[in-house]
Every structure is written in structure tokens, then in C-alpha cells.
């Protein structure tokens, strides 16, 4: 699983018993560690800034200018493995190499930005202050990113399934409740939603007119055809052809970016029947949730 990675804690210790780094050195070290995917806590001797939080149980690497010998540290409760390194005189690259060696030796995974095969954190984030639980997103998403919890409330369930750079579901949400924080522009990136955004979204095609209209009519045509004694099972080619038409429709709507569509594996997409079934299921769920909410408030 893309997200099955355990966190690592790095502390740059500049408190009692260690020499502070020069500011430029500190910046170079911290920025490069962050750019490699590490989280870094800076601990200072001064009173300024409250002490960072340690998370028990997560392996800890402490680095600092300890003048030749790094202290031996041990978690008295025995929950956290602590490694210390004296980095006096070491260049930034050497410090990074030291930390990396330790991480590899401990077999701790790390999502590394910019490395081939790493997952860009791209997934929908729901603003529940805006969401009305209408389930349009659940109905629309072809990749089962959405689901509901026990209380029938919409949830982002399978964020790993989300297609990088595809903000399509945010565009079908009538309440502008879906954000992609790494999107270029507002309000999808989390910027304040203004009245104009809301008006625009309200006017938007809903899922049935976007996909359903076409799909429903094609299904109807097919069921007519099925009645005919000349009808036969739909060939895989025909199914693929229908998906293509479906995608063309999406493309023309401008809702899914071209580059995302270009990368989609057509054969892995749900069939029009599945899309229709999902839409009906989502509508039923939305209705059930609405009734449950109404019953609760009465």
C-alpha cells in the first residue's frame, strides 16, 4: 500500500551540551532534510518557542554538534528507540547520508518527494462545514475513492485510488465542499468560497446529465436490442467502445483534465452498467442518510 510507511522523528538538538549551528548551516540542513521527506524538530537552549512534541513509540534520531561524542540516550519507558549522532564538522551531505544509512538499516520506509515511484499526496479533502451529504461525489468517482461511514456520512475511503492531478469530483460537488490542497487555484485549493463560486457550481451539470443521460439512453437502446431475436451478447470491443464514448463525454465536459484522461486504462474503468448501478446506490444512500438525519432532528 502506498501509505504504509512509518514516520521517523529527527531532532536537531541545539540545547544544553551542544553547540548551536550557524543559521545558514541550520537552514541548509533542515531544508534539505525536509525536501527528502523527513520531519525535523529543532530544539533550542533558549526559552523562545515551546518544546516540540515527541511521539512515544516512533524511532528518534537526534543530531547535534556534541563536540566529538554524542550522548547515549535511552527512553526510560523503553518505548522509543533513540539514535544519536555527533555532526560536528560534517557537511550537510554527510549528515544526510548518516541519517539515510540509519533509516535504511532500520528498514523504515519514507515517502521521498521527487523520487521515481513515490506517491504524490493527491486526494480529496472534504469540508464538512459545507458538505450536505448529497453523495454526488460518491456517485461520480469512477475509482471508488468515496464511501460512507456507519452513520451513512460521506467519507474519503480509498484515497490511494485517486488519480493524481484529477480534481473532477470537486467540480461535481454542488456545495464546493471538496478540496485538493495541492491544486493550483481556488476554491478547490482551499481558498475561501465566494458567492460567485457557489453560483457557478450550482449551475453545474449533475452526474446524470453528464454521464447518465447518455448511458441511460444507450442502456435503453440495448435492452430494446436484447429483445430482438437477433441480439447477442455484447462483445468486449463494444464494451470498450462504450467506455470510450463515456470518456469522450467527460473530456468534452472539461471536468477531467486531458492529461488525466490520457493516462487512464480504459479497460480498468467501470462499465456503463456499473456506473449506473453506483449512481443508483449513491442516490439511495443519500436518501437514507437524509431520512436518518430528519428522524434524528424530529
Amino acid at each position: 500500500m502506498k501509505n504504509d510507511i512509518h514516520p521517523v522523528q529527527i531532532i536537531l538538538y541545539e540545547g544544553d551540551g551542544a553547540q548551536a549551528l550557524a543559521p545558514s548551516e541550520r537552514f541548509a540542513l533542515i531544508s534539505q532534510m525536509l525536501d527528502k521527506g523527513y520531519a525535523v524538530l529543532r530544539v533550542t537552549a533558549s526559552e523562545s518557542g515551546s518544546l516540540p512534541t515527541l511521539s512515544p513509540g516512533i524511532p528518534l534520531t537526534v543530531i547535534g554538534n556534541f563536540d566529538g561524542s554524542a550522548p547515549d540516550l535511552e527512553d526510560a519507558a523503553g518505548r522509543t528507540g533513540i539514535t544519536t549522532h555527533d555532526i560536528s564538522g560534517l557537511a550537510v551531505d554527510a549528515v544526510l547520508a548518516l541519517i539515510e544509512q540509519g533509516r535504511v538499516a532500520d528498514q523504515t520506509g519514507l515517502n521521498q518527494p521527487g523520487e521515481a515511484g513515490m506517491w504524490k499526496p493527491w486526494f480529496p479533502v472534504i469540508d464538512y462545514d459545507r458538505c450536505t451529504n448529497c453523495m454526488q461525489c460518491l456517485s461520480f468517482c469512477l475509482f471508488d475513492v468515496y464511501g460512507v461511514d456507519d452513520a451513512q456520512k460521506i467519507q474519503v475511503k480509498n484515497q490511494d485510488n485517486c488519480k493524481t492531478n484529477c480534481p473532477a469530483c470537486s467540480r461535481v460537488c454542488p456545495e464546493v465542499a471538496i478540496m485538493f490542497p495541492k491544486y493550483a487555484s481556488g476554491p478547490i485549493n482551499g481558498d475561501v468560497v465566494n458567492q460567485a463560486d457557489l453560483e457557478r457550481e450550482k449551475m453545474k451539470v449533475d452526474i446524470s446529465s453528464l454521464l447518465g443521460g447518455d448511458i441511460y439512453s444507450r442502456l435503453r437502446d440495448r435492452s430494446e436490442a436484447a429483445k430482438s431475436r437477433f441480439s447477442k451478447e455484447r462483445s468486449p470491443d463494444k464494451a470498450l467502445e462504450e467506455r470510450k464514448r463515456c470518456l469522450t463525454k467527460l473530456q468534452q465536459s472539461g471536468i477531467i483534465p486531458d492529461e488525466v484522461l490520457a493516462e487512464l486504462d480504459l479497460a480498468s474503468l467501470p462499465s456503463p452498467e456499473e456506473i449506473q448501478r453506483k449512481a443508483a446506490e449513491a442516490a439511495a444512500r443519500a436518501e437514507a442518510a437524509r431520512q436518518a438525519a430528519a428522524a434524528e432532528s424530529s
Binding site: 501509505n3 533558549s46 518557542g49 512534541t53 479533502v125
Partner: protein
């Protein structure tokens, strides 16, 4: 003094480099202790248990990241409740605000 949290947004180019570098540079020049993470979105996606600890307690937390609405619901996405009062948690937006403005808020004493 509030806790300071800096997000590097390392997996995307949406926060201007000049702003995120300038904020980190100034933090490094200050005497402040601070926490910094590669990418809050990535941590939220993994439901990193550290997110819970970052907001734990009663003290103030100042977060240099992006749009406050996105940050709030990212934490929520990770199962971490984000206090609504706006008093304890203050999100500074490196996509919109400039580095000086952000630094001023980050290093301002809470009782000022």
C-alpha cells in the same frame, strides 16, 4: 509562547519557493524552537500519528502552511480534531501571505 509548525509542501510546487524558503530561513535565524514537516498532506494521507501529537495540549499552535480551510480539514481527514475557536490554532498561508507577515505572526508573543 505558541508551538510553531512549518510545512515544506515538498511534494508539490504550489507554495512559492521564495516564500517557503524565506520563512524557514527566518525561523532558522530566530532563536525559536520549531517543528517542521515535509508535507502535511502526505502525513494526513498516511494518518501519521504525529499529527495528533502536534495539536495535543492546550497551548497555542501556529502553522505556516497554506489555506486555513485546507489545513483544518486535512487534519480532520487524518482523524485529528482541529479546534474551531481560531484562538488556539493559527494557520498562516504561505500561498498568499508574504514571508515577513508570516514571520511576524509566528514569532509574536501570544500575550502581546
Amino acid at each position: 509562547m505558541s508551538k510553531i509548525l512549518y510545512c515544506r509542501c515538498a511534494f508539490a510546487k504550489v507554495v512559492p519557493d521564495a516564500t517557503k524558503d524565506a520563512v524557514l530561513e527566518k525561523l532558522c535565524e530566530s532563536g525559536a524552537a520549531f517543528e517542521s514537516v515535509a508535507d502535511l498532506c502526505e502525513m494526513a494521507a498516511r494518518k501519521d500519528e504525529r499529527l495528533n501529537d502536534l495539536l495535543a495540549g492546550d497551548e497555542g499552535v501556529k502553522i505556516a502552511a497554506c489555506y486555513p480551510r485546507a489545513v483544518k480539514w486535512l487534519f480532520h481527514n487524518a482523524g485529528v480534531s482541529f479546534p474551531n475557536d481560531g484562538e488556539r490554532i493559527n494557520v498562516l498561508n504561505m500561498r498568499e501571505q508574504n514571508a515577513d507577515e508570516i514571520m511576524e505572526s509566528l514569532t509574536q508573543n501570544d500575550d502581546e
